[in-house]
């Protein structure tokens, strides 16, 4: 919890400390200028009371602690380690990743130029999303990703907040470490947003296994190509693919003989195929497994695993 307290404005630290929030199940802290502070703990929403305790989210707004504009500004300054200029590229995409792999989403006034966002000004909404490494969460469905002794390329699908990054992180660790009867494989991770490895000065803070190489802070497509060239991995992992360039890089990596472990936003196969480029990746056999997660109500819980052609391999019992 300390690493989260450290990024909060000085005046917010007291109420948060008093609230005795269980860090392990804390998922989100939402700060909005002039509005009540809300927290998501174990899938439920709570408000922060004026005196620091936790209140039901439906409690009257007057009883809840509001976040002031100055507090948001200060929080952003601490989250950016007093160096927001170093996070310009990330901020343009609406977030910044802090030590520990936690992500601070920002919204406010965007300054655009020529149709592209140049900078963020007057940030008045912050969403601090906590990254938790849940070791072992991918173990149950890992056997479905193997066809005899061959690892299959898999895409993990879930809506935002569904735990796909947590699952992918554990998958990388298990494949890199090796499991019963299956020796560890070399895994390369293109970690553009520093969420998977949570690198600090290039060194992973999360455990991704002993055979994992990480390209941190590099655009996914470029990172993937560089890793294939330089680290000759047996599997490559990348989080939240979607752009045309990223899908092309994934395809190229797979055609080099590398297995791909990736995640994407979506809640079903049909929904995914509405997005440009994904259907083709499955038709070409680039991905031979699709793992669909349950969603934000049950983060990190797989609902179903299917083959690339849609044949169901496993489904969670209702």
């Amino acid at each position: 919890m300390d690493e989260i307290l450290k990024i909060l404005a000085g005046s917010l630290r007291g109420p948060f400390e008093k609230a005795e929030i269980p860090f392990e199940s804390l998922q989100e802290i939402r700060l909005r200028a002039g509005l009540p502070i809300f927290l998501r703990i174990g899938g439920r929403e709570y408000g922060l009371k004026q005196d620091g305790g936790l209140a039901e989210a439906k409690a009257p707004a007057a009883a809840l602690r509001t976040a002031e504009e100055q507090e948001l500004k200060e929080t952003l300054e601490y989250a950016g380690n007093y160096s927001l200029y170093a996070y310009e590229d990330e901020l343009r995409q609406g977030y910044l990743t802090i030590r520990g792999g936690h992500r601070v989403g920002v919204a406010g006034r965007a300054v655009s130029e020529g149709g592209r966002i140049r900078a963020m000004r007057f940030v008045s909404f912050l969403n601090i999303r906590l990254a938790h490494q849940v070791k072992g969460c991918a173990r149950a469905f890992l056997p479905w990703l193997w066809e005899k002794d061959a690892l299959q390329s898999a895409l993990i699908l879930s809506p935002p907040g569904g735990g796909k990054t947590t699952l992918l992180r554990d998958l990388i660790r298990l494949i890199s470490e090796g499991t019963e009867g299956r020796p560890g494989r070399t895994v390369a991770v293109a970690d553009e947003r520093s969420e998977l490895a949570a690198c600090f000065r290039g060194i992973p803070q999360n455990d991704l296994g002993p055979r994992t190489d990480v390209m941190d802070g590099c655009p996914k497509a470029e990172g993937l190509s560089m890793l294939i060239r330089s680290m000759s991995p047996e599997a490559a992992a990348v989080d939240e693919i979607g752009g045309e360039e990223e899908l092309l890089a994934v395809r190229n990596a797979a055609l080099c003989g590398c297995r791909i472990l990736a995640t994407a936003h979506g809640s079903s196969r049909e929904e995914l195929f509405l997005k440009k480029g994904f259907q083709r990746l499955f038709e070409e056999g680039i991905f031979s497994r699709l793992v669909v997660l349950a969603g934000s109500g049950h983060p990190g819980t797989p609902l179903a695993v299917s083959r690339g052609d849609g044949t169901l391999l496993w489904k969670r019992e209702a």
Partner: protein, 173 residues
């Protein structure tokens, strides 16, 4: 008689030493300005090309700098790491008070440094670089002025010291 002579010698010597000390301080101030400007240039380079955070840049400046600025930047980096709920402007101000108390910089030059502390941190890269460039420019102007005045002022302080000693001695005798 001998006692008077010894007293007079002491007065002249101490006044002369004071004059020399004053001119030495001027030279020290020039060295400080040169060093500070060099370190700000280093910070600018790290922000422009290094892509790292200010904390990392300050650590490098602390390693490569000489006192009192090595101590100043080292203190700043340590405080930033601790992240005790203070803004960079506040940390900068505090580090100036604790580490640059004995600095030979003039009040105007210290004001340039204070302003830089307020401007860093919550700005985009371009604005950050401009703030550093402006401070460097102001410090360079101060350095050039000092460099121009230095020979005359050094002489002045040295002679003034000796003459003041002689004058006080005459008055006392």
């Amino acid at each position: 008689m001998w006692l008077k002579a010894a007293g007079a010698a002491c007065v002249v010597l101490s006044c002369t030493a004071m004059g020399f000390l004053k001119s030495l301080r001027l030279n020290g101030r020039l060295r400080e300005l040169t060093e500070l400007k060099r370190l700000l240039g280093l910070l600018e380079g790290m922000i422009r090309f290094g892509g790292g955070t200010l904390e990392e840049a300050f650590e490098v400046a602390a390693d490569r700098g000489s006192p009192p600025y090595s101590g100043f930047f080292s203190e700043l980096a340590a405080q930033m790491k601790e992240c005790g709920g203070k803004t960079l402007g506040q940390l900068w101000q505090k580090a100036m008070e604790t580490k640059l108390g004995a600095s030979g910089l003039s009040e105007d030059e210290k004001a340039v440094l204070r302003t830089l502390g307020r401007d860093l941190g919550f700005l985009d890269r371009e604005a950050q670089l401009k703030a550093l460039a402006l401070s460097e420019e102001q410090l360079e102007e101060a350095r050039e002025r000092l460099l121009e005045e230095l020979p005359a002022k050094t002489k002045l302080y040295n002679y003034l010291g000796i003459l003041a000693g002689v004058f006080i001695t005459i008055l006392l005798i």
